[in-house]
Symmetry: C2
Subunit: 367 residues, 2 copies
């Protein structure tokens, strides 16, 4: 692996000092910000995440704040999900689409005040999209990137750690539930969510100066829980079927292709960007869909490009995330597979830069 | 330095194989794509660039293609530069502004056909901004990211190498001049431009499959010129005063602050985004401006965050790019300095994570 060259353009976060102190070994760049990807090793980080509790610097989940009397109306043209479902005590996963129904982002939307919303974004500059639309369409809103940096607490002991710092009530949050919880005289917006299947929370740290004190408070409180710094883990998130925007879907893919059809509400398709394309796809059926792919291999190279899926000479899809799973003893992968070849049990071959391997389409993900 | 974690989301380029074969040691991420930053060492790369010729993979300068009858009109609302200056044989540097006059990008605009334009972007998702405006305002255009990847040839021997491959006529291009030049049965758009002060060209490689054959042709033709793979060099670009979007300017800065006032045409300010804010700034004067800063130090840490510039206890600016210059024997830097303190010769102090150093405001850059 090559090094990452430091520059202001790859933005540091309120927690970067803590991450460095705990020996971060590798980063990716996400929304032009540093996101740790490895501390000890991908495998050791994975084993720890499944057993204990980790604190993750996911500041790169930047917030697009939409504030003002026109906010709700503007938001509704961005997504095919019916936003009347939105409530202050609950986050909503909302596909954001371009004019062709392609995915521009797959964020979580939070209502943090009567007419203030945070879109917690995946890796694309949604800020520019929303700002441009707000301006061009004359919505009465302000669109900004506030000083808010999410900190995730993930793992089976996440509840225990969060309860110690924020009180037992935080454990009453349901999945995607949101509330405000206090420590050291400040109320933080907290949701039960996160980019792992091990359970956990995301704390929306408003105000960079609060970052390191909260980081240290969590580590102090969790010493006996073996808490350590972590990050979204490649293996664990593939096992759990957590798609990554930019890896497993791009603006070339529709929500139906990405298995996000349940977040498309038919009654919104006349009102949102991309609605017409989705109606047509609903009629005609999708031409490809995301699937869990099991690869028979002893070793896999890093999946740094799409790997073609073959059936004989024909290309019938591609793998976009892959890793060897210590717990399942196979290559776990996420791919996009063409209609006619996506049924569970279909046997294909995946072509990697280091050889071709057997690849089986699975019914579901591993965890 | 930490490692960079490979993933499809950090896009490879048509030239990545060539870059790897030549031993790339470090990358940055630019427009969600890999951009090499170091081969031998920053200092050795710098010495070679100033003496010989290098081929740079700058595919990350993605093109936003605007095509259709409404293209010229749409482009004109994006920038305060008068686009009647645009001609098919010349690129134009065009600041792109948000509603507040803040810089969204500082690209080069090319007219590649009667109603087809390429915006060769710096590091922000301008594609989303332009797509949103085109859709919301009903311009009759298509906005896409075409399969076009710039390859730069830079250094004092760049003319010699380019003439060998594309013919002597390529040397007739003036600065920012554009034309089509042929090799191996394909006409490439080529401009005399690039992110160094050593002279050179950028080849707009249309079609990824042409990438490696052209790369190999250049290296074959330039063997005796000591051609090698290179990349924008931190030291050289600071010496030359080449600003970096995301480092030396962000959407918080106006073109006047960035020393780009000559690209603002007053007759356009009623028609473009941010025009009103620029008019007000033109009246009132800017509150800060970019300056060359000379730092007295033997060694500097990487400038991975803004370093405050102090005058006694007061903060009067910040340094955003810095490196030790082997040729000038000082720390060379780019900073934003407040009015009242930006005159040449002003002595300040710069606070870095590894100590505070004397910093002098200079009249101009080094090269």
């Amino acid at each position: 692996m090559a090094l990452i060259a430091p520059s202001r353009r790859l933005r540091r976060t309120p927690f970067s000092r803590g991450v460095e102190e705990q020996g971060v070994k590798a980063y990716t760049v996400y929304n032009r910000m540093l996101l740790p990807t490895m501390f000890e090793s991908i495998e050791a980080d994975y084993a720890h995440l499944k057993k204990h509790v980790q604190v993750w610097d996911v500041s790169c989940e930047r917030q697009v704040q939409v504030q003002g009397p026109g906010a709700a109306k503007l938001l509704q043209i961005l997504t095919p999900r019916d936003l009347r479902k939105l409530q202050p005590d609950r986050g909503l996963y909302v596909p954001i689409l371009n004019q062709n129904g392609g995915m521009l982002n797959d964020p979580v939307l939070l209502q943090v005040d009567f007419d203030t919303f945070w879109i917690s974004i995946a890796d694309s500059d949604l800020l520019l999209w929303v700002k441009a639309l707000a301006g061009a369409c004359g919505f009465d809103v302000e669109v900004t990137e506030p000083d808010v940096s999410p900190l995730a607490v993930q793992g089976p002991k996440a509840e225990e750690l969060m309860a110690r710092v924020f009180g037992d009530a935080v454990c009453d949050l349901r999945f995607f539930g949101a509330g405000r919880f206090r420590t050291r005289n400040h109320d933080y917006v907290i949701t039960r969510s996160g980019y792992s299947k091990q359970g956990g929370f995301e704390i929306y740290v408003d105000g960079s100066a609060r970052g390191m004190p909260l980081w240290e408070e969590l580590f102090e409180a969790g010493k006996d829980l073996k808490v350590r710094a972590g990050c979204p883990n490649l293996i664990e998130r593939i096992e759990g079927g957590l798609l990554s925007y930019g890896n497993d879907m791009t603006d070339e893919n529709t929500p139906f292709e990405c298995g996000l059809g349940k977040f498309v509400d038919d009654n919104q398709l006349d009102h949102c960007f991309g609605g017409r394309a989705l109606k047509e796809e609903r009629e005609a059926g999708s031409v490809q869909e995301v699937r869990a792919i099991e690869i028979t291999a002893d070793k896999l190279p890093p999946c740094d490009r799409a790997w073609p899926l073959h059936l004989g000479a024909a290309i019938v899809g591609q793998v976009t995330s892959a890793a060897m799973s210590p717990d399942f003893g196979v290559g776990v992968a996420i791919g996009m597979v063409s209609r006619g070849h996506w049924d569970a049990g279909t046997m294909l071959e995946v072509e990697t830069p280091e050889g071709t391997f057997e690849a089986k389409v699975r019914e579901s993900f591993w965890a």
